[in-house]
Symmetry: C2
Subunit: 335 residues, 2 copies
DNA sequence: CCTGGCACTCGAACTCGACGAGTGCTAATC
DNA sequence: GATTAGCACTCGTCGAGTTCGAGTGCCAGG
């Protein structure tokens, strides 16, 4: 039954290449004697694996390295690995005393980058519709004001608006009282209707429309999606395996957010426990030499945590760490 | 008067090296005939400059490159350069429609990284003591609550606190009313006194102390200092001039914040319009191959914007861009 | 189906020499 | 005294040539 041994050969090649960063040859594999066959046999298996497109030779007489497809096959056959105890403890102590959402996200991303030695990525929890709890308006200079909306699910959104023309203190205070009275406790369509009516009142302040608009979008689930990352230096560190030229585009992609967000959304749609994109599977030029391991967390599993690194990464370890951090984040965020 | 010409030679070497990234020799300099003397004369000048420690040879028979000291001397003699019109326009359009403080900072840092083609750094405006305008408490699950403090100067601070034990809705609502009545409009010592008294009241909720503490720190000027950066890819891009191994430590330093903040503080203390640290002047191993150009902005010029790049950077251009962005930021933030 | 053996391939690493950019020094010139 | 022209010298870069060996594919025998 050589089929099974071929899988083992592939696994050995992936593991060997990941740890040494060098093409692995049949002889070395035979001498590791975990396979129990001679190098010649391994060579035959290799020839078949190569034909199947799972491994490749950088040049004629070198050892083999896995292709994207090879990693894929390897990953698909992977049983969930356990996370080292030390790491489990790290997660507990690291995240337990976070003081607010920002802090939770910040700590998570740092932690994950340290556990995986990759670039860690955390998407801010995506938010559901929520009732308005309190609206605050604060003057900034003569012509602007800051609108702060606190939602019932403990979120705070803020935005500056232009007042357009001078507004008396009285009118200002009245607007604050009124908008609170109008919006408090409402959601969705009813909120929108109430606010539109309020803004349209005959002697209303001219900037009431702007306030109403913002309150509605804030209640609808916040303003924009954001992802934060940490551990960028892991890309550049010696032995990351990324050539000098390929790291700048990756950093760009990370900062650009848009690309990354789309990719994370796609991965969320796959619905697996932990989802992996390898090399070209990211469908993005800049990331064609990197892989992403991501897992959903939070209410409705609507947001993602992930780790990004060279295709030649430690998949089992990374997957375990990402999974664990995602679970822990879920606990914290679902409060 | 050869002293003056020697300065010109140094300037030419710096400019040449910055633009070509290659050591510049006496012959090339003579042929550019902006100096009007022969290569032999230039060689003599070079020998003196080398003795003064302003330039160095990578190896015996190569051209010269400026040392940190050489750049320093070059920078100190620099007259303020004008910013290209195109860049001025860019600043206007880029920053004009920011919707809140985060947005302003985010846009600024992006913009500056594009203008300078370096890593841009913006420290969040540091904050002064300010009166409390409104305190909001939102329950999160059974055991936690979020405290939101809106200050009179349009800042919003938030933090989760543990409730310790079950609190009835009535007690919760009463606490909100009371703490607002107690704190509104107050600052500093009076605020602290009022809140301590409130928290110490006989039948007070057990978590009143935590709320009081946080409100006081929030009013005192916010929680922590933060700096954001953008354009990290500029470090890695081909021709940045940083060797492969030196960029990981720089990225680490950027993410670590602490180092960077300390450095920025030191630079702020110098009080110049635009302040420059070159190479080893940063007093930090990881940054010993990079320079930082920074300028203060905001009320009391208490926060900094800056650009960080290889010591071999375009100082006049970078300084002009940093200065311009700092001015613009001041306008926006001082509203 | 596995294994030992063997001829072959091809990149890495090294040596070698030609080349030339750049230098420092000296003596002549303004 | 400052500048210049000339010249011998240094030393890194570049390309060609060479060796070395890891790794391969294939074949014949178990």
């Amino acid at each position: 039954m050589s089929e099974e041994r071929r899988r083992a050969v592939l696994r050995a090649i992936v593991e060997g290449y990941v740890s040494t960063h060098e093409p692995v040859g049949s002889k070395a594999l035979a001498e590791a004697h975990t396979l129990g066959v001679s190098s010649a046999t391994i060579r035959n298996d290799m020839a078949i694996l190569e034909e199947e497109g799972l491994i490749a030779q950088p040049y004629t007489s070198a050892g083999r390295i896995p292709t994207d497809l090879g990693y894929r096959s390897f990953v698909d056959q992977l049983a969930a690995a356990a996370l080292p105890d030390a790491h489990k403890r790290a997660i507990g102590t690291f995240l337990s005393d976070a003081v607010d959402l920002n802090d939770v996200v910040e700590r998570s991303v740092r932690l994950l980058s340290q556990l995986t030695r990759q670039v860690a990525v955390v998407q801010y929890p995506s938010l559901r519709e929520s009732a308005v709890r309190r609206i605050e308006l604060v003057r900034m200079g003569a012509e602007h004001a800051l609108v702060v909306v606190v939602s019932a699910d403990a979120r705070v959104d803020q935005r500056t608006i232009a007042l357009g023309e001078a507004t008396s203190d009285d009118a200002f205070e009245r607007a604050v009282r009124e908008v609170n009275a109008t919006a408090e406790g409402l959601t969705g369509a009813r909120l929108e209707a109430a606010l539109t009516m309020w803004a349209a009142a005959p002697d209303q302040v001219p900037w009431a429309g702007a306030v109403a608009d913002f309150v509605v979008t804030a209640a609808r689930g916040g303003t924009v999606e954001r992802v934060v990352f940490a551990g960028a230096s892991n890309l550049a560190r010696a032995g990351s395996g990324l050539e000098a030229g390929t790291i700048a585009p990756v950093l760009d992609a990370l900062e650009e957010q848009v690309v990354l967000l789309r990719l994370l959304h796609e991965m969320a749609a796959e619905g697996d426990d932990v989802s992996v994109r390898i090399g070209a599977e990211t469908h993005h030029e800049a990331l064609s030499r990197t892989s992403i391991v991501a897992a959903a967390y939070g209410r409705d599993a609507a947001s993602l945590v992930g780790a990004l690194g060279p295709t030649r990464m430690d998949y089992p370890g990374t997957m375990a760490a990402v999974r664990a951090v995602a679970r822990y984040l879920s606990k914290v965020v679902e409060l």
